[in-house]
Symmetry: C2
Subunit: 492 residues, 2 copies
């Protein structure tokens, strides 16, 4: 167990923070609520980006870039959206600093450089993008528009946590425009499925696919689809959302198209996004008291080789074998690092690579060379075994698949254990406090009941699962009739 | 010649703007001075990014991400840097909007949400990064730090032009920390060479490598190295800069390291960047009155195939051959698009692909299939030829190399023609007005002379070339002794 990391069972929240900082993923910055994403964390995020970007392109999307700033008058055009974000907006009011006349080494905001209209730092880009789409869309021939943007956004959060809730975060936001409602709904669902595919098959995190209740809907959407994951501590985490925006933004920005008969119609819209918050979901799905655990498909380094040797001659001998093995593994498409630093001992290196979550560690010593063996340690199970070096490439390729699968299977098993069904409110509260996890319960479908439950228990409706089983019952809170159970949880 | 594009010879500046907008590279936005980078423009930028990113990683760098905002007190810590950017800073002063009490549909800045300390939207990240490095660096073991960041930055420009000078732009900024001056200088030069390699070998734009005069130095640098390119109209464009920052930022943020003997020393620094401005350099190096010309190495689509057919049966027959050709070319690593849109005629498609700069266009008609031929048009020369389809894959692979080389050769030839030597000030002014381009002239080395020449002619010293020929002479302006000729030009 790493000494620098608070054990999960002692304080899960402190454990999380320790992992983020000690595994060199991110750090707090001098700016309130903003994080620095450190090289190891950013390298994982890059793989997430590249994987998702490929998936977006394969589903017909292209990238573009829209301004960071949104003039206030555009921002307020779609009222619900504006209302939803107004309370957490960073606002640019001036465009110049000047020397402080009382202290020449200091700067002050130049009062003569006040903007006529304030600029909002984008918390999301629907407003600026739909004000642009207005100039791009005239006819059905201009549709669909299938654009994605990789960008930073700012939401002024009062309580922040590294990756999970930061004032500035990195994300991608898709913004599509369609000629029919049906096509927009299909797009919304398609992108939800892309997200689910990515989170399950790359991050090894199982998700529930569903629709949000009105209360939890994105401001300005007609429907918000989501994927919900369950963390080790039994709290839910919204891992991605895909919104059917109806014609709300088209109406706010007067974006119409001429259909094949020349009739003018408002355009239909979707938007969808995932963010650096996924890093939080990754950590809280697989990591342990020894540090980070990275699924092989997202690991910047999948295999690290550590030489065990005495003296320069010993290192030379071991290195020869290690570098050959490295080349063999690389030729199988495996990313390998040979850690031959002479400033650190093997034990230090083992602990460091464990802390940073590298899936497979190989040790090669002089005796191994004589025996034609290597020692392999897998990060997920913390087990070691000795194998023949001649079998290493196939063995390790298979092992990486096995680790990926094991992480997913363990997460599924945990979720199954942590999923409960509550038949009444007392049971519901007891489950929440004693077990946590996802709790299926009947709900009368009203926002009022949802708010009461949230007030009293801090649990929210995570989603109404897609293809949910329809069954008659009574709401656990109001006793009113209900046609289905929905999924409650306390959430990040 | 495209009707939508103003000819170069009529108005080069208008031509440039027409290319950017008509070739779907970028557009003006609703935000003063900010651009929208459209999908075609962004796709080229993505290839630039990926290529550079690979080059940075191959030279040992890793990516990270630092906050968008810089607290004013940190921003002003390095005085020269702060002074250099103070006049063009977007300043965040508030973190919330509220409903306008006089008009419930409007929002106003909430005066109760004024920040205690204003935040500067980063115009460059030395300040925020060095305030972070202070916490990362204790000993020589922590050095070097070789970090790059891909980010957006904001500089409040009064006169903006798409790609060349926008309030917000995208860039990368490398920020490295070293234990010795020598190592930092080597890094500065290494990254200048990486930039030169990229701009010459991918963008097909020849550059002069040199050092800036004090006047043109980055605010806070000890030395600014640069690459300077020459545009078609004879104006220079600074394509990238690499700064040796000395210990200026280490001193401003008190960043010291213990050397091997335990002695505390200030850390040495470099920073280096290129931006979406490179898109402007690309356009103004190769494009013509028909539209954009993209060097094959940066083209999102290198080859487009247009079917020539009559009726559905005809399309079916042509498509079969076209798709086979597409697959053949793709297996050679060539990116190919098959444009089988039935909403547009071939002539329209030809003009569109020409406008967008696709390097090679192939036309296949029903008669071609009978003859076993295809028609190939190259964008750079606007020439056409008919070749046997069986030779197509090798032929086109070679052709793409030939186009890349031809663009570079043409640019070199133009630069040679547009490079002059002035022996006195009269000659200098005449050359500037009548010919433009790079003008080598003796300079006395003083800022005063440089400023006078700039005032009187709008020409600046672009650089003092690396390994510049040392020769005795007299300054064209002051008549004082000079030991070398430096390069002047009017510049973007």
């Amino acid at each position: 167990m790493s000494k620098s990391i608070t054990p999960q069972e002692k304080d899960y929240s402190k454990w999380y923070n320790d992992i983020v900082v000690e595994a060199d993923l991110a750090d707090h910055s001098a700016v309130r609520g903003c994080m620095v994403i450190k090289p190891h964390g950013y390298a994982i995020w890059e793989i997430m980006q590249h994987t998702l970007d490929k998936m977006f392109k394969e589903t017909g999307h292209v990238n573009a870039y829209f301004p960071l700033f949104i003039p206030k008058s555009l921002f307020e055009a779609e009222e619900k959206n504006a209302e939803g974000f107004a309370k957490e907006c960073a606002v640019v009011t001036h465009y110049r600093l000047k020397t402080n006349p009382n202290d020449k080494t200091k700067l002050i905001v130049d009062p003569d450089a006040k903007l006529e209209e304030e600029l909002i730092v984008r918390p999301t880009s629907e407003a600026i993008i739909w004000s642009t789409y207005k100039t791009w869309i005239q006819s059905y021939r201009d549709l669909p528009i299938l654009i994605n943007q990789w960008a930073n956004v700012v939401r002024w959060e009062m309580r922040t946590r590294l990756f999970l809730r930061t004032t500035e975060f990195l994300w991608q936001e898709g913004h599509t425009a369609h000629s029919t409602k049906e096509e927009a709904v299909i797009e919304t669902e398609k992108m939800l499925n892309v997200y689910a595919d990515f989170v399950e098959n790359y991050m090894a995190v199982p998700v529930l696919k569903g629709v949000k209740s009105i209360n939890e809907r994105f401001a300005g959407a007609e429907d918000t689809y989501c994927i919900e994951a369950l963390m080790q501590d039994g709290k839910a985490l919204q891992a991605g959302t895909s919104h059917f925006l109806g014609q709300n933004f088209a109406k706010a920005f007067d974006v119409k198209f001429a259909d094949k008969n020349g009739k003018l119609e408002y355009v239909w819209a979707t938007s969808w996004g995932v963010s650096t918050r996924l890093m939080g979901a990754l950590i809280m799905s697989h990591s342990d008291n020894n540090g980070l655990v990275i699924p092989p498909k997202l690991a910047p380094v999948q295999v690290v080789i550590v030489p065990i040797y005495k003296g320069e001659e010993g290192l030379k001998k071991v290195s020869e074998h290690a570098l050959k093995l490295k080349a063999d593994l690389q030729s199988k498409g495996i990313s390998v690092k040979y850690d031959d630093r002479d400033t650190q001992r093997p034990g230090f290196k083992f602990a460091e690579h464990e802390l940073k979550g590298i899936p497979v560690r190989i040790a090669i010593g002089e005796r191994d060379i004589e025996n034609g063996t290597i020692e392999i340690a897998r990060r997920d199970l913390l087990t070691k075994e000795v194998i023949k070096v001649t079998e290493a490439d196939n063995y390790i390729a298979d092992l990486l698949h096995a680790i990926q699968k094991n992480l997913y299977d363990k997460a599924i098993e945990r979720r199954t254990k942590m999923t409960s069904y509550a038949n009444n409110y007392e049971e519901f509260k007891k489950l929440l406090d004693e077990k946590g996890g996802f709790i299926y319960a009947h709900w009368d479908g009203t926002s009022e009941t949802e708010e009461k439950i949230k007030e009293e228990t801090k649990a929210t409706i995570r989603c109404i699962p897609l293809n949910n089983k329809q069954e008659q019952g009574t709401c656990i809170y109001s006793g009113k009739p209900s046609s289905q159970k929905v999924v409650f949880a306390r959430a990040y």
